[in-house]
Amino acid sequence: MSKAFFDWLDDRTGYRDWLHDALYENIPSGARFRYVTGSMLVFAFVVQAITGLFLWMAYSPSSQTAYESVWWIQYRMTGGWLLRGIHHFMAQAMVIVLGLHLLQVVVDGAYRKPREINYWLGLILMQIVMGLGLTGYLLPWDQKGYWATNVATNLATLVPGVGKELQQVAVGGSEYGHHTLTRFFALHAGVLPALLLVFLGLHIAVFRKHGITAHITPNRPDEMFWPKQVLFDAIACLVLLAVVLGFVIHWDIGGLFSAGGLPEHSRGAELGAPSDPSEQYSAARPEWYFLFLFQLLKYFPGSTEIWGAIIIPGLVMGALFFMPIMGRNAMGHRMNVAFLVLLLVGAVGLTIAALVEDHFEVVARQLSFSDANKVKWSKEIKNSQEFRSAQHEAERNAERMRVLINRRIPNDKGELGESMDIQKLGAVYLLRNDPLTQGPKLFGRHCASCHDYRPDVEGYEGPIFQTLQPPKVDASGNVLRDDKGNVQYDEFKTGAPNLFGFGSRKWIEKMLDHASWQRLEYGPPTPSSDPVIAANPEHPDNHKRPVIADYFGATKHRENSAGMENFLKENNLTGDVKRQIASALAAQSVRRLQRGETKLDEQDVAAGIELIKNKCLDCHRFGEDGSLGVAPDLTGYGSYEWMLGMVSDPTHERFYRSQDDNDRMPSFAKDLEKPQNNNVSVRELSLIVDWLRGDYYLDEDGHRVLPHDEETARRTVEDSRRLTLPKREIIGKPASQ
């Protein structure tokens, strides 16, 4: 029955001839494991085509959706990490097997007559595979792929004559965007695989015409391709797949069988933070198999860049191209082999050099560098430190991205809602508007030249800002010393309150103490961490001293006969009074408790409200009582609204009222009508305030809050500038009621 069917099928299609042609190729001296590399490459390509097609079904190429769709594949789709992991690591395995295949072809002299054309077809295939690697690296649209590929397309402009046009066509404009992704994706999933199929077809056809370049062993009988060589090929492919799967799970075999399943960090390919063209990314590196090209660029100064980027790679490709002609005699063949081996050694050497430079800090530590060596290599160590810290930051941002996408906000009943996922603006907006990520950066840029953010609690892990005072310098740039050799400093001109814990009971309580209000001390100078500078005792960078002024010790409010300082001096508040007033004021801030702060005592708050009404209203306003005009409004003190009002315009009636009373605190966003005239946008101020107040999402109880959005921030600033407002109530009950 079945024989009749297959006879009929063969009669209609002739499939037996095809099958026979495919399977019964003679292999002189029989099957060998050394013949497997070609089949492995075909297998790798097939794996890439299959996994790639399935990835395609979930991928969306545009700058608003590329990262988001890859994130979804990686973290939310069933088995998505595995699929992506196989595609990612098989691509790298393919490059390695390709290198072996080429090496084998050259060593065995398989490029020689009559196989020249097939060798050239192979070189073209190699270029296509490299192109697939390059275009694929960009598609996840994370910071790493974005910045590394940017360098590659920028280098295209070096091509003489048509360089700029080449870059424009590749990028789809002059800057990266939607069309860069659509083009790279079309290349990666359409043009290049189609070309690869065409050239692979030709490569195999020509290979079959000339047969295998056999290693003849006398008396070893010939064999057909089927079945033994096919078995060898299959075993090799199985090993390749197993190794790739090993990398996909990061060789975490233990994790695979652990109770919780494979841990997140062992799952497949890495995905960084979403690309952001306005965010400096100092850890941009190409995929490892392009690192040698990356490193090569460093050795070509100035206008010789084109040598490293184009001419030398071009010459190498040219030399590979001419190998069949060079190799016509034994001498030429030996030179070819030597050249290729040198080339591989060079590429490996350059790759190692690139890795060593990036991780030089570790190398120096491992080799226990002497001080002299540390000075000698200080630039390299510093660069490596910067690279590695950028790498860590990138990891932190990627992790933060996951927390933000998975954020869940409790409803009125305290039940957690669904995860909020990504909004249409894209993942990058989540990170750009995250106070925990942006707050410290913005604080460092706009506030830290005057304000400290210096913890007074144990075990704090997070950003710390400490103002440093530079010494006086002489005309030659060295530190100025007095007769006794002491380094001279200016009377200190900057130094505003330490904002760590601003608005908390503890912070206010300490402020109400006359001594700490006035405190101004200097810590011992710390030498520069740059060993070259540290070696020179006259260098001003070795004499920057930390300024310790928690409150107003370094401002003009330090001594003020008509102000708060005088009040504190004359009244010498008792501990109870300080605690009660501080509790009442801290209650106004409606601030999240941070880092071991305790809940406010209701009785303290009530007593404090009475105390404020008795003691403070001569100068301050507090709710309906007291009046503005002398000192900052205490209504809503330390709240989001109060802080945003203060930083956007401290000279406003509600705060320091005028430039005279305000001591150098800039109005960061005074003009709401023309936001482009403000030094810091209201959005950024809101991020700083949210960060200081702890209003950012953390995945634990009591921390599941969303940051304020831009529109709320703008309206809040408007509100903060209204002198009377229907609802400006005091929080907490006064004791008398």
């Binding site: 608003q64 910045w147 306005s278 660069n383 936001p675």
Partner: protein, 177 residues
């Protein structure tokens, strides 16, 4: 089987028609593919506007230079968004003058950082570094030119910069359109 018969006209016509029907779809695709170049050629010579980047009183005299974002309309194919960061500049105030550098490295287009301790700009990619005046450090610096200086205008307290990007890898700055 019929004898193969040669017909010059049929051969030429078959070839020509085959060429036309094959080239037409390819050419119609190619035109769209080359749109970025064709559009750029017609848009050349557009003026770069001066954009406000900072307030003069907020800039401290001397180093360190500050890095500020440049805010303008961000155009990405079909998206146009107002007030987005489109790039970054380093500002260095000297008295009443301000020098502005594009933060992009003239070597290969990475984002240059500022190394405060060494008082220089340091590119994180291929180790180019630049002095505060924008000059390359070291004879073997990979960068082919100094950092790209931008035109600065000071109007009252506002610091304006004529922001533009340049092609990396060129000896002389060439403006990206």
């Amino acid at each position: 089987l019929p004898e193969p018969r040669r017909s010059f006209i049929a051969e030429v016509m078959a070839g020509l028609i085959g060429l036309v029907v094959g080239v037409f779809p390819f050419a119609s695709g190619l035109i769209v593919f080359l749109d970025p170049i064709l559009k750029r050629k017609s848009a050349e010579g557009g003026e770069h506007p001066f954009l406000r980047v900072a307030s003069l009183t907020m800039l401290k005299d001397g180093d360190p230079p500050v890095q500020v974002p440049v805010i303008a309309d961000l155009v990405d194919a079909w998206n146009r968004e107002v007030n987005q960061p489109v790039g970054a500049v380093y500002l260095l105030r000297k008295g009443d003058d301000v020098i502005a550098y594009n933060a992009i490295c003239p070597h290969a287009g990475c984002f240059v950082g500022y190394a405060a301790e060494r008082r220089c700009f340091q590119c994180p990619c291929h180790t180019s570094s630049f002095q505060l005046d924008g000059k390359r450090i070291g004879a073997s610096s990979p960068a082919p030119r100094d950092m790209d200086k931008l035109q600065v205008k000071i109007e009252g307290d506002n610091v304006l910069v004529q922001f533009m990007n340049f092609y990396p890898g060129k000896e002389k700055p060439e403006v990206k359109q």
